[in-house]
Amino acid sequence: MGMLKLLKQFIDAFENRTGLIAFFTALAEHPVPPDTGWWYVFGSATAVAFVIQVVTGMALATSYISSTGEAYDALNFITTRALFGNLLRGMHYFGASAMVLLVGIHMGQVFLMGCYKYPREFNWLTGAVLLFLTLGMGFTGQLLRWDQNAVWSVVVAAEQSARVPVLGTYVARFLLAGKTLGGATLSRFFAFHVFFIPAIIFAFIAIHLYLVFHDGISEPPLAGNPVDPDTYDARYQELVEKHGVPFWPDAAWRDAVACALVVFAIVALAYFVGAPALDAPPDPSLLAKDPAPDWYLLWYYAALALIPRGMTDPFIFIAPAFGFLVLVVVPLFNRGERHPSRRPWAVAAVITIVMMILTLWIQAKRAPWSPNFAAAALPPNIIASSAPDVNRGAALFHTKGCEFCHEVAGFGGHRGPDLSMVGARLTHADIVIRVLNGGTNMPAFAATLKPAEMDALVAFLESRKPR
């Protein structure tokens, strides 16, 4: 009994001096609107993914070396030899994936339910900043793998940031830490990834959470119940006073379940799928590389491939700026209906964005705009001819690079039109003119092909017709 009394005395003294127990009790028990349901769990789920990133990141940092000469070896050590290293890298990767995915769903839910309307406009803006910071973490984190893909991604990132008007070159050199990729580049990205961006994220999460408590959790939207800033506060007060439930555990249990599921999924994926494979060791002097970002930025990479010729420079700068501007403008529409059934344009906007990203993502997976350097020479059963010039033409079709962009019977790339049946489509003259002169997306071969080679290539192409 004496011990219990002593413990109580200690707790009382602690509370008297800190007030922390009263503070957290008030937070836990503060009344929230009823019926918030499962759509409200995605904020907490994003936060728990961030916590996983912090914890696994701190552990990984103990073995990582932010030196361009040694980082790759450190990554290999972590992946293959360190206890739980592969699992931790996997958790960090799938944690990042989960965070990007959940932040997107959270934003979509907040937008569709009109939760960003009065008085929560400012919290929408802090969320928009957190979205961009999360993508920044994703990109800088991918670079820390410091394999061949990462090295070239840095170069591509520098090239893209150089398109910013006036300051472009300075931004690019700031990122590279010099005029070229080198010893100072990686330590800079490491510092951004583990100190600069996380510090800003922590600050913004603190403001984000403070505002959640300050403005109150938004009540589920009701059709025909528009937000009017003049009357909203009084109505919200009345709602939580009359029908409110304590946050813990009445509403928080769903967050707890969702967060636990997120953790289980991340650990399970890390265990069964493992860490993302490392590419070849970094070497900026080896040029056989097609750098591509991780899945969450791959759709943007596809957009860059599909924008019309000559529009790349403005697009690179204007598109992200425009995206951020749209997010900033959204809370200006801070009154009116909240329920999605009364906001068809809002629903259409979300569906359009999701479809756009999915379409770009599927396109990026196929990457039809990339030449297929791995295309094998056409086998005899596809050439299907005993004529010497057709066979010579088929060989030239491969060696002159035609096959990297054109497909014939399942062989080759997808950059240009499929030529499996070109002999039935184009006349002899059409083929000759096109090969000699090229086109917007095809080089002219007039200077490259000798007359005999030209004849053989055209003979081969003419032979591509239904048999």
């Binding site: 893209q160 990729l181 080896l286 690079g401 095809m442």
Partner: protein, 173 residues
């Protein structure tokens, strides 16, 4: 009655409104100066790579006789002033073409579209970019695809039987 217990002692007279305003301003100015004293070197350190230009250096990429007239080959060379810990990333590369006995041209390997490394296809006599299918002719001019302009070139010279390339910044834009 027991002697009265001393509750509080106040030694300073209340501040006049002018003095309050003045001391408030002094505090803000001192904080700003202190912040600048810490902030300027921090920001300067981060901007160092922009403010401390490194001189370009001529690097030998091989003997004159190593290169065949009319051929385009990849040459690797060191950055202007590589750091000790740069490892393999101290290296960079270019596509070097021997035009005649003493005439060379060195192309930057970065596609002018987004900076991906272009490949030289010897048989096709073309540079091809793996990322978005940009294609250039042997002279670096755009042949097809999204690149906005020709491949950039590095200065190249022949000196004492050695072919030398002037190391330059990553070609931007």
């Amino acid at each position: 009655m027991a002697s009265e217990k001393v509750q509080f002692e106040v030694h300073e007279a209340p501040l006049s409104p002018e003095r309050r305003a003045f001391l408030g301003r002094v505090s803000i100015v001192l904080t700003a100066i202190a912040g600048a004293l810490v902030g300027i070197p921090v920001v300067g350190f981060l901007l160092g790579p922009l403010l401390q230009p490194t001189a370009d250096t001529w690097r030998s990429v091989g003997k004159l006789d190593d290169f065949e007239v009319g051929k385009t080959v990849r040459v690797a060379f060191l950055d202007p002033s590589p750091l000790k810990w740069a490892g393999v990333t101290a290296k960079t590369a270019a596509w070097l073409r021997r035009l005649s006995d003493n005439d060379f041209v060195a192309f930057a390997m970065n596609c002018t579209h987004l900076g991906c490394p272009v490949r030289w296809l010897d048989d096709a006599n073309l540079f091809m970019c793996p990322c978005h299918g940009g294609i250039y002719y042997a002279d670096g001019e755009v042949a097809a695809g999204p690149p906005p302009h020709a491949l950039l070139k590095y200065p190249v010279r022949v000196r004492e039987g050695q072919v030398e390339i002037l190391t330059s910044a990553v070609p931007l834009g």
